[in-house]
Protein backbone atom coordinates (compact mmCIF):
# COMPACT_ATOMS: atom_id res chain seq x y z
CA UNK A 1 0.00 0.00 0.00
CA UNK A 2 1.26 3.49 -0.89
CA UNK A 3 2.68 5.49 2.01
CA UNK A 4 0.76 8.67 2.79
CA UNK A 5 2.96 11.77 2.67
CA UNK A 6 0.70 14.80 2.78
CA UNK A 7 -2.86 15.19 3.98
CA UNK A 8 -5.10 18.20 3.56
CA UNK A 9 -8.03 18.06 5.97
CA UNK A 10 -11.17 20.15 5.54
CA UNK A 11 -9.12 23.10 4.34
CA UNK A 12 -11.08 26.30 3.76
CA UNK A 13 -9.51 29.53 2.59
CA UNK A 14 -11.35 32.83 2.36
CA UNK A 15 -10.00 36.23 1.32
CA UNK A 16 -12.10 39.16 2.62
CA UNK A 17 -15.17 36.97 2.86
CA UNK A 18 -14.67 35.40 -0.57
CA UNK A 19 -14.15 31.66 -0.10
CA UNK A 20 -11.72 30.37 -2.71
CA UNK A 21 -11.15 26.87 -1.28
CA UNK A 22 -14.29 25.24 0.08
CA UNK A 23 -13.34 22.38 2.38
CA UNK A 24 -10.68 20.45 0.45
CA UNK A 25 -9.79 16.93 1.62
CA UNK A 26 -6.86 15.42 -0.25
CA UNK A 27 -4.09 12.91 0.37
CA UNK A 28 -0.81 12.68 -1.49
CA UNK A 29 1.39 9.59 -1.39
CA UNK A 30 5.15 9.50 -1.07
CA UNK A 31 6.91 9.84 -4.42
CA UNK A 32 3.68 10.61 -6.24
CA UNK A 33 3.27 13.22 -9.00
CA UNK A 34 -0.12 14.85 -8.50
CA UNK A 35 -1.52 17.66 -10.62
CA UNK A 36 -4.05 20.21 -9.41
CA UNK A 37 -5.96 21.01 -12.59
CA UNK A 38 -8.59 23.67 -13.10
CA UNK A 39 -9.38 27.02 -14.66
CA UNK A 40 -8.17 30.35 -13.27
CA UNK A 41 -9.68 31.14 -9.88
CA UNK A 42 -10.59 27.55 -9.02
CA UNK A 43 -8.38 27.58 -5.90
CA UNK A 44 -5.57 25.29 -7.11
CA UNK A 45 -2.77 27.81 -6.59
CA UNK A 46 -4.21 28.78 -3.20
CA UNK A 47 -3.99 25.12 -2.10
CA UNK A 48 -0.40 24.99 -3.33
CA UNK A 49 0.45 28.21 -1.49
CA UNK A 50 -1.13 26.85 1.69
CA UNK A 51 1.02 23.72 1.40
CA UNK A 52 4.08 25.96 0.92
CA UNK A 53 3.03 28.06 3.92
CA UNK A 54 2.57 31.35 2.07
CA UNK A 55 -1.13 31.36 2.95
CA UNK A 56 -2.66 30.14 6.18
CA UNK A 57 -5.93 28.18 5.91
CA UNK A 58 -9.00 29.92 7.32
CA UNK A 59 -9.85 26.52 8.82
CA UNK A 60 -8.63 22.96 8.46
CA UNK A 61 -5.15 21.53 8.67
CA UNK A 62 -2.20 20.47 6.55
CA UNK A 63 -0.27 17.41 7.71
CA UNK A 64 3.11 16.46 6.24
CA UNK A 65 4.62 13.13 7.23
CA UNK A 66 2.26 12.88 10.19
CA UNK A 67 3.07 16.36 11.56
CA UNK A 68 0.60 19.23 11.49
CA UNK A 69 2.44 22.04 9.68
CA UNK A 70 -0.51 24.42 9.33
CA UNK A 71 1.22 27.07 11.44
CA UNK A 72 4.82 26.27 10.51
CA UNK A 73 6.44 29.16 8.57
CA UNK A 74 7.43 28.40 4.94
CA UNK A 75 11.18 28.65 5.59
CA UNK A 76 10.95 25.75 8.04
CA UNK A 77 8.87 23.36 5.93
CA UNK A 78 11.72 21.95 3.82
CA UNK A 79 9.72 22.24 0.63
CA UNK A 80 11.05 23.18 -2.80
CA UNK A 81 9.00 25.40 -5.08
CA UNK A 82 9.18 26.51 -8.70
CA UNK A 83 7.27 29.65 -9.67
CA UNK A 84 5.55 30.60 -12.90
CA UNK A 85 7.74 33.71 -13.30
CA UNK A 86 10.99 31.75 -12.64
CA UNK A 87 11.85 34.09 -9.72
CA UNK A 88 15.59 33.69 -10.19
CA UNK A 89 17.55 36.17 -8.10
CA UNK A 90 18.78 38.76 -10.66
CA UNK A 91 21.81 39.70 -8.56
CA UNK A 92 23.19 36.15 -8.53
CA UNK A 93 24.54 34.03 -11.34
CA UNK A 94 23.23 30.53 -12.03
CA UNK A 95 25.56 28.90 -9.48
CA UNK A 96 24.62 31.54 -6.89
CA UNK A 97 20.94 30.88 -7.48
CA UNK A 98 21.23 27.09 -7.22
CA UNK A 99 23.52 27.35 -4.20
CA UNK A 100 21.37 29.90 -2.32
CA UNK A 101 19.34 27.37 -0.31
CA UNK A 102 22.46 25.31 0.38
CA UNK A 103 24.31 28.32 1.81
CA UNK A 104 21.28 29.18 3.95
CA UNK A 105 21.38 25.60 5.25
CA UNK A 106 25.00 26.22 6.31
CA UNK A 107 26.76 23.89 3.87
CA UNK A 108 30.48 24.39 3.28
CA UNK A 109 31.68 26.19 0.16
CA UNK A 110 33.09 22.97 -1.34
CA UNK A 111 29.90 21.04 -0.64
CA UNK A 112 27.83 23.82 -2.21
CA UNK A 113 30.03 23.84 -5.33
CA UNK A 114 29.82 20.05 -5.68
CA UNK A 115 26.03 20.05 -5.28
CA UNK A 116 25.62 22.94 -7.73
CA UNK A 117 27.67 21.03 -10.33
CA UNK A 118 25.56 17.94 -9.70
CA UNK A 119 22.37 19.96 -10.20
CA UNK A 120 23.69 21.58 -13.41
CA UNK A 121 24.37 18.09 -14.78
CA UNK A 122 20.88 16.96 -13.76
CA UNK A 123 19.16 19.81 -15.61
CA UNK A 124 21.44 19.46 -18.64
CA UNK A 125 23.18 22.82 -18.25
CA UNK A 126 26.74 21.87 -17.24
CA UNK A 127 29.13 24.81 -17.43
CA UNK A 128 26.34 27.38 -17.07
CA UNK A 129 27.22 28.24 -13.45
CA UNK A 130 28.78 31.59 -14.22
CA UNK A 131 25.98 32.79 -16.51
CA UNK A 132 23.52 35.43 -15.38
CA UNK A 133 19.77 34.79 -15.41
CA UNK A 134 19.21 37.49 -18.06
CA UNK A 135 21.57 35.61 -20.38
CA UNK A 136 19.35 32.50 -20.35
CA UNK A 137 16.25 31.62 -22.35
CA UNK A 138 12.93 31.11 -20.56
CA UNK A 139 13.29 27.33 -20.65
CA UNK A 140 16.83 27.49 -19.28
CA UNK A 141 15.76 29.89 -16.53
CA UNK A 142 12.99 27.55 -15.48
CA UNK A 143 15.39 24.60 -15.43
CA UNK A 144 17.71 26.62 -13.17
CA UNK A 145 14.71 27.44 -10.97
CA UNK A 146 13.97 23.71 -10.78
CA UNK A 147 17.61 22.95 -9.86
CA UNK A 148 17.50 25.67 -7.20
CA UNK A 149 14.33 24.16 -5.73
CA UNK A 150 15.66 20.60 -5.55
CA UNK A 151 19.29 21.39 -4.62
CA UNK A 152 18.66 21.44 -0.84
CA UNK A 153 16.99 17.98 -1.16
CA UNK A 154 13.51 19.12 -0.07
CA UNK A 155 11.05 16.50 1.07
CA UNK A 156 8.51 17.74 -1.44
CA UNK A 157 8.41 19.77 -4.64
CA UNK A 158 5.70 22.27 -5.59
CA UNK A 159 5.40 23.53 -9.16
CA UNK A 160 3.16 26.54 -9.71
CA UNK A 161 2.33 26.65 -13.44
CA UNK A 162 6.05 26.45 -14.27
CA UNK A 163 5.52 25.99 -18.00
CA UNK A 164 2.84 28.53 -18.78
CA UNK A 165 5.29 31.34 -19.62
CA UNK A 166 7.11 29.19 -22.18
CA UNK A 167 6.38 28.57 -25.83
CA UNK A 168 4.66 25.36 -26.93
CA UNK A 169 7.68 23.31 -28.05
CA UNK A 170 9.78 24.11 -24.98
CA UNK A 171 6.76 23.35 -22.82
CA UNK A 172 6.47 19.82 -24.17
CA UNK A 173 10.18 19.03 -23.83
CA UNK A 174 10.46 20.60 -20.38
CA UNK A 175 7.48 18.72 -19.01
CA UNK A 176 9.12 15.47 -20.05
CA UNK A 177 12.34 16.60 -18.36
CA UNK A 178 10.54 17.58 -15.17
CA UNK A 179 8.81 14.21 -15.04
CA UNK A 180 12.06 12.34 -15.68
CA UNK A 181 13.87 14.28 -12.92
CA UNK A 182 10.96 13.70 -10.54
CA UNK A 183 11.05 9.96 -11.25
CA UNK A 184 14.82 9.87 -10.82
CA UNK A 185 14.67 11.62 -7.45
CA UNK A 186 11.45 9.95 -6.33
CA UNK A 187 10.31 13.25 -4.81
CA UNK A 188 6.66 13.85 -3.96
CA UNK A 189 5.52 16.54 -6.38
CA UNK A 190 2.45 18.70 -6.68
CA UNK A 191 2.02 20.45 -10.00
CA UNK A 192 -0.48 23.20 -10.66
CA UNK A 193 -1.72 23.85 -14.17
CA UNK A 194 -4.76 24.87 -16.17
CA UNK A 195 -3.50 22.88 -19.17
CA UNK A 196 -5.25 19.51 -19.35
CA UNK A 197 -2.67 18.09 -21.76
CA UNK A 198 0.11 18.81 -19.26
CA UNK A 199 -1.91 17.24 -16.48
CA UNK A 200 -2.79 14.12 -18.47
CA UNK A 201 0.74 13.55 -19.76
CA UNK A 202 2.68 14.08 -16.52
CA UNK A 203 0.62 12.96 -13.56
CA UNK A 204 0.19 9.82 -11.50
CA UNK A 205 -3.06 11.33 -10.31
CA UNK A 206 -5.03 14.45 -11.20
CA UNK A 207 -7.16 16.57 -8.86
CA UNK A 208 -9.69 18.46 -10.97
CA UNK A 209 -10.95 21.61 -9.27
CA UNK A 210 -13.69 24.09 -10.02
CA UNK A 211 -14.81 27.17 -8.09
CA UNK A 212 -13.03 26.12 -4.89
CA UNK A 213 -14.31 22.54 -4.95
CA UNK A 214 -12.53 19.30 -5.71
CA UNK A 215 -14.57 17.82 -8.55
CA UNK A 216 -12.76 14.53 -9.09
CA UNK A 217 -9.50 12.82 -8.12
CA UNK A 218 -8.01 9.96 -10.10
CA UNK A 219 -5.38 8.74 -12.57
CA UNK A 220 -5.32 10.48 -15.98
CA UNK A 221 -6.95 7.49 -17.70
CA UNK A 222 -9.87 7.55 -15.29
CA UNK A 223 -10.27 11.33 -15.37
CA UNK A 224 -10.28 11.42 -19.16
CA UNK A 225 -12.39 8.36 -19.84
CA UNK A 226 -14.78 8.39 -16.91
CA UNK A 227 -15.44 11.96 -15.81
CA UNK A 228 -17.93 12.09 -12.97
CA UNK A 229 -19.27 15.58 -13.38
CA UNK A 230 -20.29 17.82 -16.23
CA UNK A 231 -17.41 20.18 -15.33
CA UNK A 232 -14.73 17.45 -15.50
CA UNK A 233 -16.18 16.18 -18.76
CA UNK A 234 -16.12 19.61 -20.32
CA UNK A 235 -12.76 20.76 -18.90
CA UNK A 236 -10.72 17.62 -19.58
CA UNK A 237 -10.63 16.89 -23.30
CA UNK A 238 -13.29 18.08 -25.71
CA UNK A 239 -16.26 16.06 -24.57
CA UNK A 240 -19.69 16.56 -26.10
CA UNK A 241 -22.34 17.06 -23.46
CA UNK A 242 -25.91 16.35 -24.55
CA UNK A 243 -29.11 16.27 -22.53
CA UNK A 244 -30.75 12.87 -22.27
CA UNK A 245 -33.95 11.57 -20.72
CA UNK A 246 -33.90 8.17 -19.01
CA UNK A 247 -36.43 5.82 -20.65
CA UNK A 248 -35.72 2.53 -18.92
CA UNK A 249 -32.99 2.33 -16.26
CA UNK A 250 -33.02 -1.51 -16.26
CA UNK A 251 -31.99 -1.82 -19.91
CA UNK A 252 -29.99 1.48 -19.92
CA UNK A 253 -32.27 3.08 -22.54
CA UNK A 254 -31.99 6.88 -22.83
CA UNK A 255 -33.55 9.30 -25.32
CA UNK A 256 -31.67 12.15 -26.99
CA UNK A 257 -34.00 14.54 -28.81
CA UNK A 258 -36.57 11.76 -29.19
CA UNK A 259 -34.12 9.16 -30.53
CA UNK A 260 -33.37 6.22 -28.26
CA UNK A 261 -29.89 4.96 -27.47
CA UNK A 262 -28.42 2.57 -24.87
CA UNK A 263 -25.89 3.52 -22.17
CA UNK A 264 -23.75 0.73 -20.72
CA UNK A 265 -23.22 2.30 -17.28
CA UNK A 266 -24.35 5.02 -14.94
CA UNK A 267 -28.10 4.53 -15.41
CA UNK A 268 -28.50 2.38 -12.27
CA UNK A 269 -29.38 5.14 -9.80
CA UNK A 270 -31.88 6.84 -12.07
CA UNK A 271 -35.55 6.43 -12.79
CA UNK A 272 -37.59 6.75 -15.97
CA UNK A 273 -38.15 10.38 -16.94
CA UNK A 274 -34.97 11.68 -15.23
CA UNK A 275 -33.15 14.29 -17.25
CA UNK A 276 -29.35 13.73 -17.15
CA UNK A 277 -26.29 15.07 -18.97
CA UNK A 278 -24.54 12.52 -21.19
CA UNK A 279 -20.93 12.81 -22.36
CA UNK A 280 -19.69 11.53 -25.72
CA UNK A 281 -16.06 11.77 -26.82
CA UNK A 282 -15.53 13.18 -30.33
CA UNK A 283 -13.20 10.30 -31.20
CA UNK A 284 -15.69 7.63 -30.05
CA UNK A 285 -18.28 8.44 -32.75
CA UNK A 286 -18.30 7.53 -36.44
CA UNK A 287 -20.36 8.84 -39.33
CA UNK A 288 -22.56 6.89 -41.70
CA UNK A 289 -22.04 3.32 -40.49
CA UNK A 290 -25.67 2.58 -39.63
CA UNK A 291 -25.45 -1.20 -39.96
CA UNK A 292 -23.03 -1.91 -37.12
CA UNK A 293 -23.82 -2.81 -33.50
CA UNK A 294 -24.48 -0.04 -30.99
CA UNK A 295 -26.26 3.28 -31.02
CA UNK A 296 -27.28 5.22 -34.13
CA UNK A 297 -28.62 8.76 -34.19
CA UNK A 298 -29.82 10.64 -37.25
CA UNK A 299 -28.72 14.27 -37.59
CA UNK A 300 -27.77 17.06 -39.96
CA UNK A 301 -24.27 18.36 -40.62
CA UNK A 302 -24.09 21.90 -39.24
CA UNK A 303 -20.40 22.72 -39.57
CA UNK A 304 -17.25 21.10 -41.00
CA UNK A 305 -13.86 22.34 -39.68
CA UNK A 306 -10.73 21.15 -41.44
CA UNK A 307 -7.94 21.02 -38.80
CA UNK A 308 -5.25 19.30 -40.85
CA UNK A 309 -4.86 15.69 -39.71
CA UNK A 310 -8.31 15.80 -38.15
CA UNK A 311 -11.65 16.97 -39.52
CA UNK A 312 -14.13 18.13 -36.87
CA UNK A 313 -17.76 17.78 -37.91
CA UNK A 314 -20.64 19.26 -35.92
CA UNK A 315 -23.92 17.40 -36.20
CA UNK A 316 -27.26 18.70 -34.92
CA UNK A 317 -29.97 16.25 -33.82
CA UNK A 318 -32.64 18.71 -32.69
CA UNK A 319 -31.76 20.73 -29.58
CA UNK A 320 -28.47 18.90 -29.04
CA UNK A 321 -25.32 19.02 -31.14
CA UNK A 322 -22.16 16.88 -31.06
CA UNK A 323 -18.70 17.32 -32.56
CA UNK A 324 -17.14 14.30 -34.22
CA UNK A 325 -13.44 13.95 -35.01
CA UNK A 326 -12.48 11.94 -38.09
CA UNK A 327 -9.05 11.51 -39.60
CA UNK A 328 -8.44 13.43 -42.78
CA UNK A 329 -8.10 11.27 -45.91
CA UNK A 330 -7.44 12.65 -49.40
CA UNK A 331 -9.55 9.76 -50.82
CA UNK A 332 -12.63 10.50 -48.71
CA UNK A 333 -13.66 14.17 -48.81
CA UNK A 334 -15.60 15.31 -45.74
CA UNK A 335 -19.43 15.61 -45.92
CA UNK A 336 -21.08 18.92 -46.75
CA UNK A 337 -23.14 21.20 -44.54
CA UNK A 338 -26.79 20.20 -44.58
CA UNK A 339 -26.13 16.53 -45.32
CA UNK A 340 -28.27 14.10 -43.30
CA UNK A 341 -25.99 11.61 -41.57
CA UNK A 342 -26.05 8.77 -39.07
CA UNK A 343 -23.88 9.12 -35.96
CA UNK A 344 -22.87 5.75 -34.47
CA UNK A 345 -21.21 4.92 -31.15
CA UNK A 346 -20.99 2.03 -28.66
CA UNK A 347 -23.13 1.96 -25.48
CA UNK A 348 -19.83 1.79 -23.51
CA UNK A 349 -18.90 5.23 -24.85
CA UNK A 350 -21.95 6.91 -23.36
CA UNK A 351 -21.02 8.47 -20.00
CA UNK A 352 -23.90 9.46 -17.78
CA UNK A 353 -22.77 12.35 -15.59
CA UNK A 354 -23.86 13.30 -12.08
CA UNK A 355 -26.40 16.06 -11.58
CA UNK A 356 -29.47 17.15 -13.49
CA UNK A 357 -29.19 18.09 -17.14
Amino acid sequence: MAEEFLRIENVVKAFNGNTVVKGANLTFNKGEFVTLLGPSGCGKTTILRMIAGFERPTSGSIVIEGRDVTNVPPNQRKIGMVFQAYALFPNMNVAGNIGFGLKIAGMSREAVRARVDEMLQLIGLPGYGSRWPFELSGGQQQRVALARAIAPSPRMLLLDEPLSALDAKIRVSLREEIRAIQRELGITTIFVTHDQEEALSMSDRIVVMSAGNVEQVGPPFEIYNFPKTRFVASFVGTLNIVNGTVVDPASGRVAIDGQEIRAARGVVNTKAGDSRPLALRPEAMVLNKPNGQGNHLKGTIEEVSFLGAVVRIRVRFADNTVSIDTFNSPNAPPPQRGDVVTVSFAPEDVLMLEGAA
Binding site: G53, G80, F89, N91, A105
Partner: protein, 262 residues
Protein backbone atom coordinates in the same frame (compact mmCIF):
# COMPACT_ATOMS: atom_id res chain seq x y z
CA UNK B 1 11.80 70.19 -38.93
CA UNK B 2 8.64 70.59 -36.90
CA UNK B 3 7.01 73.98 -36.47
CA UNK B 4 7.47 74.02 -32.72
CA UNK B 5 11.18 73.32 -32.80
CA UNK B 6 12.54 76.91 -33.18
CA UNK B 7 10.45 77.93 -30.16
CA UNK B 8 11.80 74.97 -28.23
CA UNK B 9 15.36 76.08 -29.03
CA UNK B 10 14.53 79.64 -28.00
CA UNK B 11 13.13 78.50 -24.64
CA UNK B 12 16.18 76.28 -24.20
CA UNK B 13 18.52 79.19 -25.00
CA UNK B 14 16.75 81.55 -22.56
CA UNK B 15 16.85 78.90 -19.81
CA UNK B 16 20.52 78.23 -20.50
CA UNK B 17 21.35 81.93 -20.29
CA UNK B 18 19.26 82.27 -17.11
CA UNK B 19 21.07 79.37 -15.41
CA UNK B 20 24.53 79.66 -16.91
CA UNK B 21 25.23 83.41 -16.76
CA UNK B 22 25.31 83.61 -12.92
CA UNK B 23 27.37 80.44 -12.81
CA UNK B 24 29.86 81.67 -15.39
CA UNK B 25 29.97 85.04 -13.63
CA UNK B 26 30.72 83.31 -10.32
CA UNK B 27 33.45 81.20 -11.92
CA UNK B 28 35.02 84.23 -13.60
CA UNK B 29 34.78 86.26 -10.40
CA UNK B 30 36.41 83.44 -8.41
CA UNK B 31 39.39 83.60 -10.81
CA UNK B 32 39.89 87.41 -10.46
CA UNK B 33 41.60 87.58 -7.12
CA UNK B 34 44.66 89.04 -8.93
CA UNK B 35 43.95 92.26 -10.76
CA UNK B 36 46.17 91.70 -13.78
CA UNK B 37 45.28 88.14 -14.73
CA UNK B 38 43.01 85.18 -13.99
CA UNK B 39 44.29 82.73 -11.37
CA UNK B 40 43.26 79.84 -9.15
CA UNK B 41 44.58 81.56 -6.05
CA UNK B 42 41.14 81.84 -4.45
CA UNK B 43 40.77 78.05 -4.76
CA UNK B 44 44.21 77.42 -3.27
CA UNK B 45 43.43 79.77 -0.39
CA UNK B 46 40.19 77.96 0.31
CA UNK B 47 41.63 74.47 -0.08
CA UNK B 48 44.58 75.27 2.17
CA UNK B 49 42.35 76.68 4.90
CA UNK B 50 42.29 74.13 7.79
CA UNK B 51 38.72 75.21 8.59
CA UNK B 52 37.63 74.29 5.08
CA UNK B 53 39.12 70.83 5.36
CA UNK B 54 37.70 70.28 8.87
CA UNK B 55 34.18 71.38 7.94
CA UNK B 56 34.22 69.59 4.60
CA UNK B 57 35.38 66.30 6.15
CA UNK B 58 32.80 66.73 8.91
CA UNK B 59 30.01 67.25 6.35
CA UNK B 60 31.29 64.32 4.33
CA UNK B 61 31.20 61.99 7.35
CA UNK B 62 27.79 63.32 8.40
CA UNK B 63 26.39 62.81 4.90
CA UNK B 64 27.72 59.24 4.72
CA UNK B 65 26.23 58.42 8.12
CA UNK B 66 22.97 60.09 7.04
CA UNK B 67 22.87 57.90 3.94
CA UNK B 68 23.46 54.75 6.01
CA UNK B 69 20.80 55.71 8.58
CA UNK B 70 18.38 56.72 5.79
CA UNK B 71 18.91 53.46 3.89
CA UNK B 72 18.52 51.39 7.07
CA UNK B 73 15.19 53.11 7.80
CA UNK B 74 13.84 53.40 4.27
CA UNK B 75 14.77 50.07 2.62
CA UNK B 76 13.04 47.78 5.17
CA UNK B 77 10.11 50.24 5.49
CA UNK B 78 9.51 50.55 1.74
CA UNK B 79 9.94 46.77 1.34
CA UNK B 80 7.42 46.01 4.07
CA UNK B 81 4.92 48.54 2.72
CA UNK B 82 5.21 47.02 -0.75
CA UNK B 83 5.03 43.43 0.45
CA UNK B 84 2.77 43.31 3.46
CA UNK B 85 1.10 46.67 4.07
CA UNK B 86 0.19 48.16 0.68
CA UNK B 87 -2.82 49.81 2.31
CA UNK B 88 -0.40 52.02 4.28
CA UNK B 89 1.27 53.28 1.13
CA UNK B 90 -0.60 56.62 0.82
CA UNK B 91 0.09 57.37 4.49
CA UNK B 92 3.79 56.50 4.20
CA UNK B 93 4.11 58.57 1.03
CA UNK B 94 2.52 61.53 2.82
CA UNK B 95 4.82 61.14 5.83
CA UNK B 96 7.91 60.94 3.62
CA UNK B 97 6.83 64.14 1.88
CA UNK B 98 6.53 66.11 5.13
CA UNK B 99 10.19 67.23 5.17
CA UNK B 100 9.52 68.98 1.86
CA UNK B 101 6.51 70.79 3.30
CA UNK B 102 7.92 71.69 6.71
CA UNK B 103 10.75 74.26 6.47
CA UNK B 104 14.05 73.12 8.03
CA UNK B 105 13.80 76.05 10.45
CA UNK B 106 10.55 74.71 11.89
CA UNK B 107 11.97 71.18 11.90
CA UNK B 108 15.04 72.18 13.88
CA UNK B 109 13.03 74.23 16.38
CA UNK B 110 10.89 71.16 16.92
CA UNK B 111 13.98 69.05 17.48
CA UNK B 112 15.45 71.57 19.89
CA UNK B 113 12.21 71.61 21.84
CA UNK B 114 11.98 67.82 21.91
CA UNK B 115 15.62 66.98 22.64
CA UNK B 116 16.99 69.92 24.65
CA UNK B 117 18.86 69.45 27.92
CA UNK B 118 15.69 69.59 30.01
CA UNK B 119 13.79 67.08 27.86
CA UNK B 120 13.35 63.31 28.38
CA UNK B 121 16.06 62.64 25.76
CA UNK B 122 18.65 65.45 26.14
CA UNK B 123 20.52 64.90 22.88
CA UNK B 124 21.72 68.50 22.69
CA UNK B 125 23.47 68.12 26.05
CA UNK B 126 26.58 66.58 24.48
CA UNK B 127 28.55 66.85 21.24
CA UNK B 128 27.87 63.22 20.39
CA UNK B 129 24.16 63.66 21.11
CA UNK B 130 23.99 66.79 18.92
CA UNK B 131 25.84 65.00 16.14
CA UNK B 132 23.34 62.14 16.36
CA UNK B 133 20.47 64.65 16.29
CA UNK B 134 22.00 66.34 13.22
CA UNK B 135 22.30 63.00 11.39
CA UNK B 136 18.73 62.05 12.28
CA UNK B 137 17.52 65.49 11.15
CA UNK B 138 19.37 65.10 7.85
CA UNK B 139 17.97 61.57 7.45
CA UNK B 140 14.49 63.12 7.78
CA UNK B 141 15.44 65.82 5.28
CA UNK B 142 16.59 63.19 2.78
CA UNK B 143 13.54 60.98 3.38
CA UNK B 144 11.46 62.17 0.37
CA UNK B 145 14.34 61.50 -2.02
CA UNK B 146 15.53 58.25 -0.48
CA UNK B 147 12.01 56.79 -0.16
CA UNK B 148 11.07 57.61 -3.74
CA UNK B 149 14.33 56.26 -5.11
CA UNK B 150 14.01 53.00 -3.14
CA UNK B 151 10.32 52.62 -3.98
CA UNK B 152 11.08 53.10 -7.69
CA UNK B 153 13.81 50.45 -7.38
CA UNK B 154 11.40 48.03 -5.71
CA UNK B 155 8.96 48.59 -8.56
CA UNK B 156 11.47 47.20 -11.07
CA UNK B 157 11.69 43.80 -9.35
CA UNK B 158 9.04 41.24 -8.43
CA UNK B 159 9.41 41.75 -4.69
CA UNK B 160 6.74 39.25 -3.67
CA UNK B 161 7.91 36.32 -5.79
CA UNK B 162 11.60 36.90 -5.01
CA UNK B 163 10.75 37.02 -1.31
CA UNK B 164 8.72 33.83 -1.55
CA UNK B 165 11.44 32.09 -3.57
CA UNK B 166 14.03 32.99 -0.92
CA UNK B 167 11.68 32.11 1.95
CA UNK B 168 10.92 28.62 0.66
CA UNK B 169 14.68 28.05 0.39
CA UNK B 170 14.95 28.66 4.13
CA UNK B 171 15.91 32.35 4.30
CA UNK B 172 14.57 34.65 7.05
CA UNK B 173 13.44 38.27 6.58
CA UNK B 174 16.84 39.81 7.41
CA UNK B 175 18.65 37.50 4.97
CA UNK B 176 16.09 38.21 2.27
CA UNK B 177 16.45 42.00 2.60
CA UNK B 178 20.26 41.84 2.86
CA UNK B 179 21.00 39.25 0.16
CA UNK B 180 18.11 39.37 -2.27
CA UNK B 181 16.24 42.68 -2.10
CA UNK B 182 19.02 45.17 -1.27
CA UNK B 183 21.49 44.05 -3.99
CA UNK B 184 18.71 44.28 -6.57
CA UNK B 185 17.79 47.86 -5.65
CA UNK B 186 21.37 48.99 -5.01
CA UNK B 187 21.34 51.33 -8.01
CA UNK B 188 18.15 52.96 -6.72
CA UNK B 189 19.54 53.22 -3.18
CA UNK B 190 22.69 54.86 -4.54
CA UNK B 191 20.57 57.36 -6.49
CA UNK B 192 18.82 58.26 -3.24
CA UNK B 193 22.19 58.36 -1.52
CA UNK B 194 23.66 60.87 -3.96
CA UNK B 195 20.59 63.08 -3.70
CA UNK B 196 20.87 62.96 0.10
CA UNK B 197 24.59 63.74 -0.20
CA UNK B 198 23.90 66.74 -2.42
CA UNK B 199 21.40 68.10 0.12
CA UNK B 200 23.47 67.44 3.22
CA UNK B 201 26.78 68.80 1.91
CA UNK B 202 25.39 72.31 1.50
CA UNK B 203 22.81 72.38 4.34
CA UNK B 204 23.01 75.42 6.58
CA UNK B 205 19.87 76.05 8.69
CA UNK B 206 19.73 72.92 10.85
CA UNK B 207 23.50 72.71 11.34
CA UNK B 208 23.71 76.39 12.22
CA UNK B 209 21.00 76.20 14.88
CA UNK B 210 22.48 73.00 16.28
CA UNK B 211 25.86 74.77 16.23
CA UNK B 212 27.66 72.06 14.25
CA UNK B 213 30.79 72.85 12.18
CA UNK B 214 29.47 71.85 8.75
CA UNK B 215 30.55 72.98 5.31
CA UNK B 216 27.42 75.13 4.91
CA UNK B 217 28.18 77.27 7.97
CA UNK B 218 31.81 77.63 6.84
CA UNK B 219 30.54 78.84 3.47
CA UNK B 220 28.34 81.42 5.19
CA UNK B 221 31.12 82.58 7.52
CA UNK B 222 33.64 83.02 4.70
CA UNK B 223 30.97 84.82 2.65
CA UNK B 224 30.72 87.47 5.33
CA UNK B 225 34.43 88.31 5.54
CA UNK B 226 35.99 87.52 2.14
CA UNK B 227 35.12 88.38 -1.45
CA UNK B 228 36.72 85.95 -3.93
CA UNK B 229 36.91 82.85 -1.74
CA UNK B 230 33.11 82.52 -1.35
CA UNK B 231 32.81 82.47 -5.13
CA UNK B 232 35.45 79.70 -5.30
CA UNK B 233 33.58 77.81 -2.58
CA UNK B 234 30.29 78.14 -4.46
CA UNK B 235 31.93 76.73 -7.57
CA UNK B 236 33.37 73.84 -5.51
CA UNK B 237 29.92 73.18 -3.96
CA UNK B 238 28.38 73.28 -7.45
CA UNK B 239 30.98 70.83 -8.73
CA UNK B 240 30.29 68.41 -5.86
CA UNK B 241 26.52 68.59 -6.38
CA UNK B 242 26.89 68.12 -10.12
CA UNK B 243 29.24 65.20 -9.59
CA UNK B 244 26.58 63.60 -7.38
CA UNK B 245 23.92 64.21 -10.06
CA UNK B 246 26.27 62.82 -12.70
CA UNK B 247 26.71 59.68 -10.64
CA UNK B 248 22.92 59.25 -10.50
CA UNK B 249 22.76 59.55 -14.29
CA UNK B 250 25.60 57.08 -14.64
CA UNK B 251 23.93 54.60 -12.30
CA UNK B 252 20.60 55.02 -14.08
CA UNK B 253 22.24 53.46 -17.13
CA UNK B 254 22.71 50.26 -15.20
CA UNK B 255 19.15 50.23 -13.89
CA UNK B 256 17.41 48.81 -17.01
CA UNK B 257 19.94 45.99 -17.13
CA UNK B 258 19.05 45.08 -13.58
CA UNK B 259 15.36 45.27 -14.37
CA UNK B 260 15.79 43.11 -17.47
CA UNK B 261 17.42 40.46 -15.36
CA UNK B 262 14.29 40.00 -13.33
Amino acid sequence: MTRGKPWAWLVFAIATVYFMVPLIATIVFSLRIRRDHLSLDAYWLVLSDPDFRATFVYSLVVSLLTIIVGALIVVPAAYMVRLRLPQLRPLVEFVTLLPLIIPPLILVFGYLRMYNTSSWLPLTGSTLGTNILLILAYAALGLPYMYRAVDTGLRTIDVRTLTEAATILGANQVTIIARVIFPNILVAVLSGAFLTFAIVIGEFTIASLLNRPVFGTYLQRIGMVKSYEPAALSVIAFAITWAAMGMIQLLARFAPRTAARS
